[in-house]
Every structure is written in structure tokens, then in C-alpha cells.
């Protein structure tokens, strides 16, 4: 038992707790600016969800992660895919997208499903690294990604890509193809941005039309890229959210305005509909300043690095891949969420892990970190 306590990764556990608590505080703060009681009380729900998630966390952490992967990853993956199809068929339409099934978001469930599935497939000791394996791995990613894209939810679909690609890279799956493919993807991303830039700055209408005919972008996606490339162009239209996010963060200054005293939040300049979710970092940064933002960044740093420490100490590929997949997913969420609110990336609807209000994602995250804890606790047992 003492050994178990020593093997327990206290750093990930405590930083998860701290981040979830911070989430409760700032969901409460964001809710104070809202009229609806349900939104004012959203922090209670977040706390309750975190408690439920912690039960899952401990349950999973005391199970052997190898058993979890072997027994549950395939059914979990299948169920997730069925839910993704179901949400397309029966989902509630919110903000022009079908993302909700009853009370949860299947796309969040699918994130962990893909990571576990890929970890299981490529973590087997006898697995090969052929081109067919790569295609299989990419297929496991592509299926949910396209289903999520159909909701449509580009952000969630895209966030899976780096997590799975990092896993495949670490598992050295057919690197001679994977690395060129990755390079090509990066080039393509740069090319799309460049094309939008050319289209938006050119005076030639025909050029603009031609470019957009061949770019598979929807109007709102174009607008977001436009805002990203030229944030000053339309401060009251497409640039509003970014401008307000930056004013919130910037006016927070070094020490902030005090918890619960954010002016941008209270006066509704920071769009109230997203202040609890995708823009909660702005509320936090406005009220606690650079100091508070740095504390949060540091907590994420502790979480990620201590998680990687667990991966390092894990003697098998399954454990390492699982941990790496989950951590990469969290890192991408954190990076994209904060970077978009200060204009380093285009606006994308990605929540800040543990802090943004969002029941499904919080439960999935706690479950995922429960599995990481399991890797930490069970790494020395023989499979």
C-alpha cells in the first residue's frame, strides 16, 4: 500500500484538482454577469460533475490500464462511433450544429475513444509498422473526425489530428510515409492561410472568386481566418470576439481587477454566450491578471510534464502511447484556447481543459487522467 502511495502521481492529481477548482471559481464569476439562474448556478454543476469525474478517476486509476485497454477500448470505440452517428440523426441543433445528444456531447467521448484505440493497436509488442498499419491508424482517426466534421464541429475534429499524429509518430508507424505526409499537411495549412491572405488583400475580384472556389471553406471559417490575418479590419463584426477577448485580457494588467470584478465580463463586451466556455480564460485573465494567468499556465505545465514523467517510467508502449495521446490532446486544447484569445491563432471553439464549463469534456478528462494514474500505479505489474 505504501508503495502504491509512492507510485501515485501526486503532481498530476493535485494539478487536476487545482485546475478544476479554478474552473469552479471562474464559472461562478462568469455566471454572476448572467441573468438566468441556471447560468448563475453553473458552477455548482461543474463542481458536481468534477466530483462524479473523480469517482471515475479513482475507479480507473485502481484498475490495471492494460486490462482497460484490452477489454474496453474496442467496445468503447464502437459505442463512440454509434453515438456520433446517433447525434447526426437525433441530435439537438444548437448554434447551427448538431453536437448534443440528450445531455452530453458524443464528440468529447470520441476523443478518448480514438486515443485508447490507437494506443491499444500500436502499443502491442508484436505490432508491425507497415504502410498498412499507418493506413489503419489514420482510418481510426478519420472515421470519428469526419463524423464530427459533419456535425459540423471543425475545431473538435481538428484537435484530434495532432494528438493521434503524435501518437503514430512516437510509435514510429511507417515513418518514411508519415513524416512526408505531416510535412505536406503543414505546407497545406500554410498554403490555405496564404491563399486566404491573397484573396482578402487583392483588389481583383476575379482572383478572389477563383481562390474561394477551390478552397473548401465555409463563410464563417473564411471570416475567422480573415480576422486572424487582419484583426483590425472589422472590429465590430467578425473581429468583435477577438478584440473583446484581447481587451479583457489586456485590461487585466499584472494583478487583475479582483475575482468577480471583471468589467468586460459584467458589461457584456466579452460575449456572454461564450464567457463560461471557450472564453473563460479571458474572464480569468481579466480578474487575476498576468499573475493569475501565469499560475494557470504553470499548473498546466506541471500537469503535462508530470504526465510525461509517468510515460517515461512506464515500461510498455501501450501505457506510454495512452499517456502521450491524452497529454497531447490537453496541450493542444490549452494552446489553441489561449492562443486564439490573444490573436495567435484563428478563433476556434475549443474549451480550456478542466476550467471551461462543459460536463462531458470534464468527465472524459478526469477519466483520461484516471487512466494516466493507472499507468503510474500499475506500471511495474506484469501483464
Amino acid at each position: 500500500m505504501l508503495k502504491k502511495l509512492l507510485q501515485f502521481n501526486w503532481f498530476t492529481f493535485l494539478s487536476v484538482l487545482a485546475l478544476a477548482a479554478i474552473g469552479v471559481v471562474f464559472i461562478k464569476s462568469a455566471g454572476e454577469a448572467r441573468m438566468a439562474t441556471s447560468l448563475q448556478d453553473a458552477w455548482r454543476l461543474h463542481a458536481a460533475t468534477a466530483l462524479f469525474g473523480l469517482i471515475l478517476y479513482f475507479t480507473l486509476s485502481f484498475l490495471d490500464y492494460r486490462k482497460i485497454l484490452d477489454l474496453s477500448s474496442t467496445p468503447y470505440y464502437l459505442i463512440a462511433m454509434i453515438l456520433l452517428v446517433a447525434v447526426l440523426a437525433f441530435g439537438d441543433k444548437v448554434y447551427g450544429g448538431k453536437r448534443w445528444l440528450w445531455f452530453f456531447q458524443p464528440s468529447e467521448i470520441a476523443k478518448l475513444a480514438v486515443i485508447l484505440m490507437v494506443a491499444k493497436v500500436f502499443g502491442r509488442s508484436r505490432s508491425t509498422n507497415t504502410f498498412r498499419d499507418l493506413l489503419y491508424g489514420l482510418g481510426l482517426l478519420a472515421l470519428p473526425a469526419f463524423l464530427i466534421l459533419a456535425e459540423p464541429d471543425l475545431g473538435t475534429a481538428l484537435v484530434l489530428v495532432p494528438a493521434i499524429l503524435v501518437m503514430l509518430l512516437c510509435a514510429r508507424v511507417c515513418l518514411r510515409v508519415l513524416i512526408p505526409v505531416l510535412a505536406a499537411c503543414m505546407l497545406a495549412a500554410v498554403a490555405v492561410l496564404a491563399a486566404v491572405h491573397v484573396a482578402e488583400t487583392t483588389n481583383n475580384l476575379q482572383t478572389k472568386e477563383t481562390i474561394y472556389r477551390y478552397l473548401p471553406l465555409k463563410e464563417h471559417q473564411r471570416a475567422r481566418l480573415r480576422t486572424f490575418l487582419n484583426p483590425e479590419a472589422d472590429p465590430y463584426g467578425g473581429g468583435w470576439n477577438l478584440r473583446q477577448a484581447k481587451i479583457s485580457i489586456g485590461s487585466g494588467s499584472l494583478t487583475g481587477k479582483g475575482i468577480g470584478k471583471g468589467e468586460q465580463k459584467f458589461l457584456g463586451y466579452l460575449p456572454p454566450s461564450v464567457s463560461m466556455n471557450d472564453f473563460i480564460f479571458c474572464v480569468l485573465a481579466e480578474e487575476t491578471g498576468f499573475v493569475g494567468a501565469s499560475v494557470v499556465l504553470s499548473l498546466f505545465g506541471v500537469l503535462l510534464l508530470s504526465g510525461l514523467w509517468t510515460a517515461l517510467r512506464c515500461p510498455d508502449d501501450r501505457g506510454r502511447l495512452t499517456v502521450i495521446g491524452i497529454l497531447t490532446l490537453v496541450f493542444v486544447h490549452v494552446y489553441v484556447n489561449i492562443a486564439m484569445s490573444i490573436g495567435l491563432m484563428p478563433i476556434t471553439g475549443l474549451p480550456l481543459p478542466f476550467i471551461s464549463a462543459g460536463k462531458t469534456f470534464l468527465v472524459i478528462l478526469l477519466a483520461a487522467f484516471g487512466i494516466i494514474q493507472s499507468v503510474s500505479l500499475h506500471r511495474e505489474e506484469e501483464s
Binding site: 481587451i247 485580457i249 458589461l267 497529454l327
Partner: protein, 589 residues
Amino acid sequence: MKVSFWSILALAALFTLGLAELAMELHHVQVVDVAAFKADLAQQATRRMRKPGIRGRILDAKGGVLAESRARRDIVCDLSAFLKNGRLANTATAVDDAITHLAEALGFDRPASLTTDRITRHLRTQSAVPLCVWRDLDETALARFEERAASFPGFSVEAHAERIYPRGTFAAHLIGYTGRDRGAEDTDDIRMLAYELEMKGRAGLEAFYDDYLAGVAGAVRIPVDARGFKPRGAARDNIALGEMEERAAQDGLDLELTIDPDLQSVVEKQLDGVRGACVVLDPRNGAVLALASAPTFNPNDFVPFVSAKRYRELSEDPDHPLLNRATAGLYAPGSTFKPVTALAAFRAGINPQDEYECTGVYKLGDMRLHCWNRWGQGPMDLHHALEQSCNPYFARIGYLMGTNTLFRTAREFGFEAKTGIDYAPERSGSLVSPPFYPGLACQSAIGQGRLQVTPLQMAVECAALANGGKVFTPFLKKRAAELPPPEPMRTISCKPDEFEYVRNGMRAVVEGAKGTGKAIGGLKVSSAGKTGTAQLGGGEKDTWIIAFAPYENPTVAVAMIVERGDSGGKTVAPRVHAILASLFGEKEE
């Protein structure tokens, strides 16, 4: 193992670098550029709101109040108290219902103009400004509201300045009136929010001295939320952003006038019931002691704004009550112009002792100029021609000197030009206009022809005759005591004995045996004057008097016109007598 130590290390480096980049960028936004973002916040989350200064009073020479600002109390509605989610129309409906409920509870009529459309417009354009529901409530109504105010959150009483003219029609043309208007510093770029537009002078001294009376509006920055409403509840209590005064309001100055209230009352009484005008000047400096035009109006009708119906009534009235006849009415001066002709005659080298036989008519070609006495008045010299206002005599000297000398002298008296009084509107009138014809000089010499003058110009003429040729610019705003007495605008270049001759003739008008203006006299002091009866054709006449007193050392000069009178001597002279008697007293028999 496939997942190597190095790939985990590489990931650790990636995570660390990514978070470090975010930290550096946040440092830039929150520490380096903080001032710019704070400024952006202050700029977008506040609105500039006007705080008007209190408009100055207008006082008569004895300190009596002619115009002032009083506190008007309104029940206003703070719209943010009824803010609803979703469409603005939802909020407008909530406000509308609340007003209806309050109206029922108080037993007031719902203001008819306050439609849902109007509420919506207010919400859209100035949601941070309270909406005025009931305007200008009396004590009873306010007390009734205060009793129930607690159960109607969102409604409150606010006081605002409103113009009031305590003496009603008294000196109405002089004072003028105010309307509501945007301030001068409001441009389309910087439009300030305002509870209501400021009072701005629209006519009379209110308009002429608007800058002096108005003061300067202050500006207050008030916080507003993203929808333009004042923050309420938790938002108001928790944010640091509050009201801040950007610029203090400056109150306007009090305008003290030269108007003698007692004299003005007498003058207005003498004009009661007729169409006409009267100006009383101090011939020693040009101060306007009284100035009135009849019929008149009540400037309180224009507060807070004049109804379209009332304005149409006033502007379409055939008697033109809004016209200030004293400064902007144009009339033929008739015989009151003859003293000018007499002085011009000296310049032309005409000997005042030369006699001319008045036969009752002066003929020039086809033109016939009749004397008021159809039978002729016999032999006349200049003195008697003035005393008895003999038309043929003056027609003849007009013929002898021609228009050049006559009009040059008239221009020295200030005719055909604005007097420069601190008042608007003022008209300059004219001495002559085409076409010219041979008898023009004769007609002009007796104050007919094409002469067009204002009663104010006649008062200036009378003052110049009284003081021996000094033409003063008339003024209404009291001069500060420490200033030197005003210098005349011009001194008429006639010899003192020539002036004395004409003045003497004018005294004979009042005091001579055959004087046409004997009704002016009978005062404790000796006075002088000139009657005038301008023929308008169709038997209609405008009747005039100019007069000054005391003769030796004049302190007042009066010009008065009554439209459609019988004659200057009969119609106007008794009125001028009453005016002078109020100052100098009746002669005791």
C-alpha cells in the same frame, strides 16, 4: 520499445516551449501593452453625457427678474431596470407595461406621445439616458408618486432646468424666447448623450446673448454595457468603472439690462390695444430705457417648446405679434423727419428767416403736396414751419436743396443703416429707391417719398437732436460701472446755433401757441418734440411723435408710432405725455 525516451523528451520540450510562448505573449498583452487595452476598455465602455450649465437670468435695470431658470421635476424611467433578453422589442414592451401600471397606480393619464415605437427608438439611440415619462409635475403629483415609489423600481424623480418668464408678456419682444437645441460643440463625431437638449435662445436677447447666458455644458463619462445600458445590480456594484466628470459645467452669466421696469410698464400700457412701437433712449449715452412693440406675445408659450398650433396662430396673425416693430418695423417717418430737413437746409445755405407763403398746397409739375391745413397757413419761416409742421414750406426747401444734401444729413443721423443695437433682428430701412422722379426731394423733405425707417432709428434721431448732434449706438446690456461712458458713434457736423434753432422749433411744437404737439406738454419740465402723420394712401395714416425732455438738459428721448391713427398730435401725443409725466410729473396748475 518503440516509444523512446527521446520522443518523450521532445514532447516535454514542445509542451514547455508552447506554454512559454503563451506566457511571453500574455506578458506582452497584460504588462507591456496594458495601457492601450485599458484605454480601449474605457473608450468602449463609457459614453459622454452632457451636464448643461444653468442658463443665466435676464434682469431689468432695478434687478427685477425678467427670465430665469427654475427646477422642473419629471418622473423618469431607468430603462436598464426593465432589460429583457433577446430582441429590443421585449424590453420596450416591458417598459411600456411598467408605465401603464404606474399610471394606473397613480391615477395619471398615460402620456399619449410615449408609444412603444418611441420607447424602442429611445432604447436604440440612448439607452443609457433615462426616459422622461411625466414632465413638470406639481407637489401633489410628486407626493403621490413618492408614496408609491418603493413598489415601482426603475422610476424616479429627476430635476431639470426649465426657462420661465415671471412677468409674462412684459418686454416680451426684447427678451425673446428659448428653444431646445444641440450644443455648439456637438459634432457628428462627438455626439454627447443628453437627457434633453439644452435651452438655446431663439429670438430677442435670449438669442443675441445666447453664448453669454448659456454657459458651457460639462461632460460626464458614464459606464455602459455592451448594449448601451447603464450597468445595474451586480455589474454596477462590482466594477471599478464609475461615473467620472470629464469637464465641469459652467453656469451662464446673468444679463443686466438698461430697461427701466417702471418706464417699460408705462410704455407698454400706452401701447395697449393698438399696433405700434415705442423706444425710449437716454440721449446722454444711448441706453435703451424702454422698448416695446404692440401687439405682443407671451414667451412662456414657447416653454418647453411652442406647439405647432400656437406658432401658426402667432405667425399667421395679421397683426404680426411676433414682429418687433421697434427694431424691425419699417415706416414712413412723416413730419418727424422735418428736423433733419431743417438742419440740412442750413447746410444748403437756406436762410431760416426767409418767408414763404403757405397756400395750403405745394405744386411741382403734376404733383400736389397739401398742407394739413387745406386753407394755407400764411407766411412761414423755418421756426414756424417746424412749429406748425407746414408741408409746402418743407417741400419747397427740399426742392431747393435736392436729395443729396438731405440724404447726406439723414445718413449722419443714422438712417439707412442699422443702429448697431445689441439686439436682433434689426432692419436698416432706406432713404431712397428707384425709380427717381422730380418731386422725390420734396416728398422726402416732409418724411414721405420712399423713406423707410424704424422707430429705433427715430429714437436715435430724437436723441441726437436732444443732445446737440451726438449719435449714440443704442444698447440694452448695462455697462459695467467701471467702464468709461460710451463715446458717440458720430457727431453731426452742424453748428451749435443751428441745432439750437431746430431744438427751439421743436419746443414750439409742444409749447408754442400754434404747436401741433401741445398734448405732449403740461409737464413739470420743459420739453420739445415733433409730430408726424404719414399718409399711406386710402386715407390711412401712421402717426408719430418724437420728443425729448427736459429741454435744457435732456435725459430721455422718445420715439413712438401708432399705426392707423388720426394724427401724431391727437393719437400719439397724449400717450407720450403720459410716458414723460411718469418720469417728470404733471405741471401743477
